[in-house]
Amino acid sequence: MAKNKQTMSRALQRREDIAGYLFMLPSLIFFLGFVVIPMFVCIGYSLTDATMHQQAATQFVGFSNFAKLFQDKVFLEALRNTFVIVIVSVPTVCAFSLWVSSVIYKLSGPVLSAFRCIFYLPVVTGSVAVTVVWKWMFDNYTGIINTALKGAGLIEKNINFLGDSKWALWCIILILFTTSVGQPIVLYVSALGNVDQGLVEAAKVDGATDLQVFWKIKWAQMMPTTLYILVITTINSFQCFALIQLLTQGGSGTQTVMYYIYYTAFKLTQQAGHFGYANAMGVVLAIFIGILSALQFRLAKEK
C-alpha cells in the first residue's frame, strides 16, 4: 500500500512538473533568451578586450578591465556623481512622498485621485518629453526659470544652469526627483489606508500624540512598503540615463556610470566600442546595486 501511494505521488509530481514547465515555457523563452543569457555573457565579456569591430582578436584579459576602471578618472568621477544622485534623491523622494501621502490620503476620493494623478504625470509623460521641456525651461536665453528668478530679483544675470558644473548635477537631480515621486506616493497612499485602525484608536485612547501614532504605529506598519520604495528608487536613480544624454551628454560635471557605459560602448572615438571595458562597468554597477539592495533589506528586517 505504502509503495502504491508513493508511486501515485511521484506520478502526480511529474504531472505538476510537466504542467508547471509548460505554463512557464513561453515566458521562460523570453526571460532566459533576453535577460538571463545576456547577463552571463556580460560577465564573460567583462573579462575580455572585446571591441565593436575586431571580434577576431578578442582575448581573455582576466580582471585587468576592472583594475583599469579604478584608475580611470572619468569612471571615478562618474561613480562619485552616481552616488551623489542616489544619496540625495533616495531619501528626499522617500520623505517627500511620505509627507504628500500623509496629507492627501484622508481627502475625499476625487480630490485624492486628482493629486495622485498630478504627481504621477511626469512619470507618464516620459523621460524624453519631460527632458526636452526642462531643457527649454533651464535655457540660458529663453528659459522661464531664469526669467522668473530675475523677475523675483533673486539673480541679476542669467545662469547657464546646464552648462555650469556648479548647477548642472543639481538640475538633473531636481528633474529626476519630479519623475520619481509618482510611484512612491501611490504606494504610500494605499499603505496608509491599510494601517490597522484598531491600533491607532487604541493608542489615541491611551493618550498618544499624533506624532507618536505616526512613528510608532503607521511607520512601523508601512515598513515593507518603505523598503520596496527604497529599492525601486535606488534602482531608478542608478539608471538615470535619458536626462544625462539629452541635457548635458555627461558634460558640466554630470558624468554618470550609466552614461559612461553608453559612451564607452558607442561614442568614444579613440577606442570605438570598447565592449569589454563597458561591460566591466556594467558588472561593477550591478554589484553596487546588489549590495545596496541587500543592505536596505537587512536594515528593514532589523526594524
Binding site: F31, V35, Y45, V100, S127, V133
Partner: protein, 311 residues
C-alpha cells in the same frame, strides 16, 4: 475619530499643508502645460524676452514643420526569424502604404511596439505567474529566486550582449529588438504570481477532479480571476515600453524605424534651438500615453500597489 484632533494647531497644519500641496501640484503640472502651449505658440512668443504664459495666437506651424521633416513608408514589418527560411538568408520585409511624414510613422511604430509588447507580456506572464503560484513543480524556488534577482538588475547593464544577440538574430533596427527584452523583463511574472496566489486551491482541485484539462482550467477559472492583474500589467507594460528611451536609442538606428520619443530626441539633437518644433514633438510623444493612463488609471494604481504589498 474626527473629534480627536480638531485642535486649532491641527487645523492650521492641515490648511498650510494643503496650500503647499496645491502649489507643488501646479509646479508638477507646469512642464506639461508648457509643452502643450509651447507646441501651439507662434515663433514670436517662443523667443520673446518676457515669457508668454498663454499663446497670443494658437497656430499649427510647429506641427506642420514637424510633419514636413522627413518621410517614410506608412508601414514596414520585418518578419522575425524569417531569415532562416528564405533562400538568401535575408529577413522578409513587408512594406505598405504611401510615403507619409516620418512623425506619423513614429507614432504608428510606437503604438505597434507598445501594444505588441503589452499583449505578449500579458499572455506569457499570466501563464508563468499561475504556474509559479499554484503548480508545485520542481525547480520552482530557484526560478523564482532568479526572477527576483533579475528584477533588481538595471536592464542597461546587459545592453551590449543584448545588442550582439540582436545582431545575430537580425533584429537590430527593428521594433522586435525593443519588444522582446521588454517581454523578458520578469516584473510581469512577479506581479501575476502575486495575483494568482489569491486563487483558492480548492476550486482548482475541484476542476481537476471534474476532469477539466489544464488548459481549460487556466482559461475558464484562472484567467477570469486574475483579470484585474492583467489589466494592471497591460497598462504598466504599455507605458514602460513607450517610455523606454534607452532601449529604443540603442536598438533603433534608421529614421523610419524610430518611435515617437526617440524621434523627438533626435530632433532635439539636430535642431536644439527650435523649441516650438520640439514642443510639438514632445506633445505627440506624451499625450497618447497620458490619455491611456487617465483612462485606465484605476487598474494602474491597483497594479502598482499589488506588486509591492505582498513583495
Amino acid at each position: 475619530m474626527k473629534t480627536n484632533n480638531v485642535g486649532p494647531r491641527a487645523t492650521v497644519y492641515k490648511v498650510i499643508s494643503v496650500i503647499i500641496l496645491v502649489i507643488l501640484a501646479v509646479l508638477f503640472v507646469f512642464p506639461l502645460y508648457w509643452i502643450v502651449t509651447g507646441a501651439f505658440k507662434p515663433g514670436a512668443d517662443i523667443y520673446a524676452q518676457k515669457p508668454v504664459w498663454w499663446p497670443s495666437e494658437w497656430v499649427m506651424t510647429n506641427f506642420n514643420e514637424l510633419l514636413a521633416k522627413r518621410s517614410a513608408p506608412l508601414w514596414e514589418l520585418k518578419v522575425p526569424f524569417s531569415q532562416w527560411f528564405t533562400e538568401k538568408h535575408e529577413p522578409l520585409v513587408f512594406s505598405a502604404g504611401p510615403s507619409v511624414p516620418a512623425a506619423f510613422r513614429w507614432l504608428i511604430n510606437a503604438v505597434f511596439m507598445a501594444a505588441v509588447a503589452m499583449g505578449l507580456t500579458c499572455i506569457t506572464a499570466a501563464m508563468a505567474g499561475y504556474a509559479l503560484a499554484k503548480k508545485r513543480f520542481r525547480g520552482r524556488a530557484i526560478l523564482f529566486g532568479l526572477i527576483i534577482c533579475a528584477m533588481a538588475l538595471p536592464k542597461q547593464v546587459i545592453l551590449i550582449p543584448l545588442l550582439k544577440e540582436m545582431n545575430f538574430l537580425m533584429f537590430t533596427d527593428t521594433l522586435w529588438a525593443v519588444i522582446f527584452p521588454t517581454v523578458g523583463w520578469p516584473f510581469g511574472v512577479f506581479l501575476m504570481k502575486q495575483f494568482s496566489e489569491s486563487i483558492p486551491g480548492e476550486i482548482l482541485e475541484a476542476a481537476r477532479v471534474d476532469g477539466s484539462s489544464e488548459v481549460r482550467t487556466f482559461g475558464t477559472i484562472v484567467l477570469p480571476m486574475v483579470k484585474p492583474g492583467i489589466g494592471a500589467l497591460a497598462i504598466f507594460t504599455f507605458i514602460n515600453c513607450w517610455n523606454d528611451y534607452f532601449m529604443q536609442l540603442i536598438m533603433l538606428t534608421s529614421g523610419a524605424n524610430f518611435t515617437m520619443p526617440l524621434g523627438v530626441a533626435t530632433l532635439q539633437a539636430e535642431t536644439s534651438v527650435n523649441m516650438g518644433l520640439l514642443m510639438a514633438g514632445a506633445a505627440l510623444a506624451a499625450l497618447p500615453i497620458i490619455i491611456v493612463f487617465l483612462i485606465f488609471q484605476k487598474y494602474f494604481t491597483q497594479g502598482i500597489t499589488m506588486g509591492a504589498v505582498k513583495g
